[in-house]
Every structure is written in structure tokens, then in C-alpha cells.
Symmetry: C2
Subunit: 356 residues, 2 copies
């Protein structure tokens, strides 16, 4: 016997590659290709190192107030955390406390089952249809909670709000979490439903559309009761999760709506152009509303393309998982990055054509 018998064993998760070479093209972790708002730079310059000696405001009011103003809700409807992973994990812990299994799609964000295992929450996955759309009926059976990303990852598919509303309205006894990490690239948010459904929690992040993955900021919006349960759990766990610098830069980013519209608009345009190019190159893909495209090629295997791109210092994401192991998840970068990607793909496809 040793202390190791009492160690909680988890499947070690290996985070996606974070290579960092000057000339590489990094389209593998859905980061924003543009810098954060210039106001974030100003906020950084304005930070007072002296004030770091004090604990941050545990209520994170500076940031929750800015978010409340932006999303036209009350500050007590906003919860913030260290990235949406922190917000989601805390939400699982707080709301999924039933003997009945929680439900989520079989093809989805890879952390849901890990958190469920970690917190010993039973779960059951609901298979997406062949075209990767969600079947609302699957979520109308007894359950201990529901979590659905919209747009879904890694498919990029957007589920119409009406379809999600059926699920939310049909589950008054469960908290339904809609994970909108990728909602700002042309999809529609379920936020207007928060007023009507007290079991709805909407989670978003600063890591994609606000170009601040490095600042670790996520948030949830729901009715005040839901948010107060989350805060109770959070305060009991760690009162001070948000550093003073994150609060300051987060607020600065939220307050620059014009910049937010500008960069998300640019990414949407690049994505739509990329769809045409990829189609011309023989790819098919669900019609993404996210900042990535989930594509499969008519002839070449995804793994083959992935490896060939990597040799050229272009990184995309490949998941060796059932049903999606012939797809590549390609983050939408700048126009220049995408041109370099298309050029490389043309080469790879042509080279393969002659070799066969």
C-alpha cells in the first residue's frame, strides 16, 4: 500500500500543440488572427504594478458590469471565470448534481466527458445525425442536465435557436447549458431566451472573438438565481480567480464594440471565401458559422493532408476519433495565412494526384 492508492487517476489530457516559430502558420487552436482591441494595449499600459499587492475584487465587478452593459442584462446575471473551461467546469459541478445522466452530443467539445468523469457525473451522449445536426428529440428524455455547444465544435454547425428552445422548454427540471464559444462569427445567440427560461445558462469566451485566449476570461449569463448558485460554489472553491490584469484587459475589450464588430466581420468574410476555395479543391464541410471549417477531402485522407501541411509548417487540427477521423479542423486565419494554406493544399493535392 502507498499514498498512490488514494490518487485520483484521470486520463491525462494532452493539450493541442502550441508550437511557436516565427514563420509557422498556426490554424490549429481557433485563436483569433488579429490582435485584441487597441484599448487592451492601453489598459495594459495603465495597469499599476503597486495595486497587484492587493487581492482583486472577488465579485469581479469591473468586468461583470462591463459585460452586463454590453449584453443588456443585470450585473447579477453575469458570472466570470478563468476562461470558459473554468466557467463550464464550475457549472458542471454546480448544476449537474443528479443521479440521472447528463446529455450532450457524441461529437462535441472534448472536455465535457472529462469534467463529467472528474466530478463523477453520469453522462450519456446523443449521436448527431449523419449531417452532424442535432436531433432535439434525443434531449427530451429524463436527464440530470444538458450541455450543447452552438455552433458545435469541431463541426462548426449552427443549430437554429428554435431547435434549442424546444430542448430548453422541454427540460424545466434540468439546467441546460448552451456553450456559445463560437457564436460571434455570424451565428445567433440564445441570450434573448434567458429572460424566459430560468434553467438556461449561456456560456461565452474571450478566447476567440475577442482575441484574448492568453488572458483567460470566460463568462456565463443566466437568471440571477442560477448565477448566485454558481457564485456560491465558486466562492467556496477559490474566491479570487480573476487576476487584476484580466479584469482590466477584459473590461477594455468589452467596451470596444466597434473593434469587436470589425474583426469578427473580417473573419466571417475570410471564412466565406475559404469555403469557396476549399470546395474548388475538392473538400466538403458542414456550413460553418464558427471561426473554423471542418473539412474532409474527396480523395486524400485527413491524416495525410495534416502531415503534409505540418511538413510545410502549417498547423491545423486532426482528431483521431470515430466518425470524424477523416476531417481537418482548420481555423480561419488572416487572408494571407489562408492563401498560404490554399497554395500548400494545391501542391499536396496535385502531388498526390500524380503519385497515385
Amino acid at each position: 500500500m502507498s499514498f498512490e492508492e488514494n490518487v485520483r487517476r484521470v486520463v491525462p489530457y494532452v493539450p493541442g500543440e502550441q508550437p511557436n516559430r516565427p514563420d509557422m502558420i498556426k490554424l490549429n487552436t481557433n485563436e483569433c488572427p488579429y490582435p485584441p482591441s487597441p484599448r487592451v494595449e492601453e489598459a495594459l499600459r495603465g495597469l499599476n504594478a503597486d495595486s497587484l499587492r492587493l487581492y482583486p475584487d472577488p465579485a469581479a465587478a469591473e468586468l461583470t458590469n462591463a459585460l452586463a452593459a454590453r449584453y443588456q442584462v443585470k450585473p447579477e446575471q453575469v458570472f466570470v471565470g478563468v476562461g470558459s473551461d473554468d466557467v463550464l467546469a464550475m457549472s458542471f459541478l454546480t448544476f449537474f448534481n443528479s443521479e440521472k445522466p447528463i446529455l450532450f452530443p457524441d461529437i462535441t467539445y472534448s472536455f465535457y466527458d472529462v469534467w463529467a468523469d472528474l466530478f463523477r457525473i453520469p453522462f450519456q451522449t446523443c449521436p448527431l445525425r449523419e449531417d452532424f445536426t442535432i436531433c432535439a428529440e434525443d434531449y427530451l428524455k429524463p436527464n440530470g442536465g444538458i450541455v450543447i455547444p452552438n455552433p458545435n465544435a469541431p463541426t462548426g454547425l449552427f443549430e437554429p435557436v428554435a431547435n434549442l428552445e424546444r430542448i430548453i422548454a422541454g427540460n424545466p427540471d434540468s439546467v441546460v447549458i448552451i456553450d456559445e464559444a463560437y457564436v460571434d462569427f455570424g451565428a445567433k445567440s440564445v441570450l434573448p431566451l434567458v429572460e424566459r427560461y430560468e434553467n438556461l445558462l449561456v456560456v461565452q469566451t474571450f478566447s476567440k472573438s475577442r482575441a484574448m485566449a492568453g488572458a483567460r476570461i470566460g463568462f456565463a449569463i443566466g437568471q440571477p438565481k442560477l448565477i448566485s448558485y454558481l457564485n456560491d460554489a465558486k466562492f467556496s472553491f477559490n474566491s479570487y480567480t480573476m487576476s487584476q490584469t484580466s479584469l482590466a484587459v477584459g473590461r477594455a475589450a468589452v467596451e470596444d464594440e466597434a473593434y469587436f464588430q470589425k474583426i469578427t466581420g473580417k473573419i466571417i468574410k475570410t471564412r466565406e471565401r475559404a469555403k469557396k476555395e476549399l470546395k474548388a479543391l475538392g473538400f466538403t464541410f458542414p456550413d460553418s458559422k464558427a471561426n473554423f471549417i471542418f473539412a474532409t477531402h474527396e480523395r486524400l485522407s485527413a491524416k495525410e493532408i495534416f502531415d503534409s501541411l505540418r511538413e510545410r509548417d502549417i498547423y491545423v487540427r486532426y482528431f483521431n476519433k470515430p466518425r470524424i477521423d477523416n476531417y481537418l479542423r482548420i481555423t480561419v486565419g488572416t487572408d494571407e495565412q489562408m492563401e498560404a494554406l490554399f497554395a500548400a493544399l494545391r501542391e499536396i493535392i496535385a502531388g498526390q494526384g500524380t503519385a497515385l
Copy 2:
């Protein structure tokens, strides 16, 4: 029935007051009265806002390498988290996974029982002796893990390393966590024991001696095996907990050893002077080795003094708990702040003397 039946109910923790008025004297949350190292200011100025668009290094190498160099251990012996609360909570989750109760003192840091409840870890407290010292024998019975702060909070008492080594050596089947949040103010660390005991995890923080409570940085040092279990759990939960700004300012602080020695030395001097003053005013207290003094008055009740100080805009900490409800925890501030405190105490004590 409603979704609320599945909500995890916790005792809502109310964080200590964080009032913020220009003339107030804040001696209630054990923050450092001096600013962080000037290198932290430089690091803030040197931060590149553009780089915030990228995810931080999940391994936090910049910071773990700096800590490894400072504490003369290997980088794979260092785990970092969002304040020591995050590090401790993750350690509870990872290592205290037994049916047997974990053990900690009855008078101690107030989060231990909360985390145990949150993770459904059975626990049992071991009463401190009347003089607030730890009885090592209490920790030599079957248990699922042990956590002891040294110096203890809120007593400030330092337990000799040999006494803790008895506990560590006597529990090869349990992970023993020594929480050294306050070790840098003249106490002795158990870090040299890490080499010999694979069940020892030492946790420290940047919030006190490094004057960076606002940056949210804590760390643990242990043998590589223990740290790898912690990392497995952390990566499964949230791969990217440390923001880029925290990594940069944390590293800058660790690298300025001279400044660290200077401010901890100043606090120690002020504390020793404060002990004499408090004694002269009729207070008694355990002989603190922390950056606070846990004092009780021969005549006036702690609550009375607490309220009177508060009226004068001087904040100290009062715990309405068994055995310690006649004590005040007074953070050691600057000499000027302490002079103001003594003047106020003189007034309060004299006023009370004549009124009686």
C-alpha cells in the same frame, strides 16, 4: 420538482471585506504593504498586447522554470496555479481520494473543510493544544491524507520542522500537504525534506511575501511523480489556467531575490516591534512567524476592539469561531500603518478604561 433539486448546495463563503478608501488602513487580509518588485512593473510594461490573442503555454514553463531555479529543484517538481487556493483545491481533488478521513488542525485555514465538503472528502480535525501548538501524535492514525499550514493561520505559530517530519515520515500511505503561505517571514520551510519523502507536497503563494495577491499565483513543489499526478488532474480540468500576464509578472518577481529579501526583512522587523507595542498595550499572542499577529487583550473583548478600530477606518480580521472568538488577526503593515494602529488602540483602551 425543478432543476434546483440537482444544484449542489454549498455553504456560501463570504470573502473578507475589501473596502478601498484612500485613507483607510487595511490590515485584514494579510496582503503585503509594499509594492511588488520593480521588475514586475517592467514586466507589465514589456507585455505585448498582441500576444494575448494566443493561448498561454499550458505547461507554464516560463514560471515553473524560474521557480525551479529559485528553489533548486527540477522544473518537473513544480506545479503552478491560480493562487495557492487553486493549487490546494487541485491537490485535495488529486490526492485525497480515500474513504478514510483526511486530517487537519481544528483551528486553521478556513478553506480546508470547504474543499473537503465540495469534493466529498471525509475529514476529521485534530484539536490544537491550549497554546495552539500541534500534537504530532494526533496525525499518526489511519487517514486519507493530511494538510497542515506552517506557520498556521490564523495563529501565526510556526511548528518546528522536526515535528512535521514525524508526521510526514509516519504517513507513507498518505500525501501530506504543508501549506507554507506564510513561511517567508522568518519561519523554516520543509522544502529540504521533499528529496527524502515522496508523499510530501509543499504549497506556497505569491500573495503575501511576493506582494502579488492581485496576480493570483500559487505553486506546489514535490517529487516529479506527485507533480505529474497534479498536472494530469489540472490538464483534464482546465489546460490553460495561468494567464500570460501572470506568467510574466510571476517570473519577474521570482527573479528579484534581493527585493524579496528586502521586503520580507522589513515586515519581520515591523512585526517584532509590533509585538513589543502590543504587549505593552495589554495584548498576548502566540509568537508569530507570519506577516500577522493573532492577539487577544487582557481586558477588552476582541469584537469590541474590532468594531472600534473599524469606526476609525482601521480594518483587522475577527473570526467569530469557537476557541478564537476573542482574538484579532492583525496583518503587519508598514511602520506608519502600525503606528496609526497603536495610537488608535491606545485611545480605545484608555477610553474604555475611563468608561468602565
